[in-house]
Amino acid sequence: METDILKPKRKFSLVRALREDSAFQGIALISPTAIYMLILIILPMILVAVLSFMTRGTYGNVVYKFNFQNYVRLIDPIYLRILLYSLGVGLATMVFTILIGYPLAYFIARSPVRKRSLYLFLILLPFWTNFIIRIYAWIMILRTQGLLNTVLLNLGLIKVPLDILYTPAAVLIGMVYEFLPFMVLPLYTSLEKIENAQLEAAADLGARPLRAFLRVTLPLSVPGMIAGSILVFIPAMGMFVVPDLMGGAKTVLVGNVIRNQFLTSRDWPFGAAASMVLMILTLAFTLYYTRKAGFGEELLV
């Protein structure tokens, strides 16, 4: 006790804290990320949340008067239909990216090690081009006098050009194309981690290749599939560029509604409310999905 009193109280020293205080070191290490998250994610989200309870002024300005009017407006069959439709498109995108992405990821994971990085590079290559430009490329391919129809007509496979562009099918093609790498990469990570000895053990215990796949490979790749699904589903729900450009005026998703509120109708509070609802629904779905099927650390990759 005596020594405690006699000991002069040391002043706080940044250098000493960085060197000796493990709690301070932890805070110091995490602060760049924390500041980044605060400024770019948490503050904007609070802003949107606050905004969603305000009202639109006559000239598109925001009137700061608290009310639930925007959420009441959202309880409308039109919006409900758009929401359900978006959910359907998001789920369809997810399912198709799994169906196409799984064999692709499996193929890469089973390739010789030296070739794998080349294949992964090819998967990522499209990202070097602007997203809008790639969507226009798809428009060129799919339109009535486009590449696809020209080829099919010349081959004599069809008599009348197919009307794909500006249909829900075109939107789905664009979405699946855009989000495929987000499914392939986590799936690959999952599949690549499966030791060959696991498959040998399955064969050794009497499993033919198909059963070995169903009982060993498939279950072990579920974490990757979940991670991929989240990476695809969340942005797919909010996507508005693809339906805008490839779906024509016929296909309206939640993303378009929100975008229109902010840019066209200049009704920021209503757009903010729609954003909040979309976010909460997506979050609920994702939580349910991960709880149900287990959460993979692949999401962190």
């Binding site: 030791e195 000895a197 696991q198 040998e200 399955a202 050794d204 215990l205 009497g206 072990l220």
Partner: protein, 377 residues
Amino acid sequence: MDEFAVEMRDVVKIFPTPEGGEVAAVNHVTLQIKHGEFFSMLGPSGCGKTTSLRMMAGFEWPTEGEIYIDGTAMGRTPPYLRTVNTVFQSYALFQHMSVFQNVAFGLEMEHVPKKEIEHRVRDALEMVKLSGMGRRKPKQLSGGQQQRIALARALVKRPAVLLLDEPLGALDLKLRKEMQLELKALQKEVGITFVYVTHDQEEALTMSDRIAVMSQGKVLQIGTPVEIYERPNCRFVADFIGETNFLKGRVKKTDEDLLTVELLDFPREIKGVGQGNLAVGQEVSISIRPEKVRLEDDINDDTAPYKDSDNLLRGRVLTTAYVGSDTRIIIDIGHNISLIVWEQNHISTLDPQAYYTAEDKVVIHLPFENTLVLPEG
């Protein structure tokens, strides 16, 4: 039932190397493994023992030759149609399944009725002393326990032959020794043929009925642990199994029961037991196990090379290391040659006079029958 559980007839396995060449991992191997035998394949890494095992399991196919299991030529039979099961070095347990599901997997593949599966899995878990662990996931178990699960998973199928690929390699020394004895007892209990791959010579000696010593894709010697240790058939086997001293020599006389060998490093003749067909003039290695010699204080100046039944070598103690059960002594016998000798400490005493120390002059007695004359290789 055929005479042999497993037979390899002139098997060759060639792998391509990354540089575009070829390498024979297994090079004309012929061996027979009897029913109910604990058979070990022992050798340094890259000697072809694991490749041989993988060919028996069906993960690899021989480039040449044929493997027979219970008298049936295996050819390119896939693993899932073979009556052998494997315990993998990494255990290869299914992490997404419980312990019970892991052990039941092989039986489900055979479409064994559910009731019987439950029964047999319970018995198998009991056999490896893991009853009541069925609901755990493999990751929740210790290395030793995972090893037992891998064993139960393979044994529950009641295979004709159980293949074990360094199954104790990942365990710590104490646990490994325990498991060695347990595995051996288990094998006797179930009566299944075990083919055991290891690079640990002590492990092979402890557990095996017979051992095949391999090097560079070839089998050098097949025999019981006693045969392999006491009568190695070449320098490599003597060197790999246990510790030994080598002296280089040339065969001088072969007409007696014992060979007479002339040492190359200094003019001296040594008598010993010859292994294989050794001709006069052939260069050989003389193997002297460190525990098979006797030391005596050098009191007289007798320079005779033999005495009764022993070769005699004079020397000077360089260093000693007391290790409890015995003292390990390095003795300089001149001409830049030193021998390692283990003196058993069979008298309990604190008297420093009872132990050799550096600079002591000694005579090393090498009994003729403990002196092995081996071909190089």
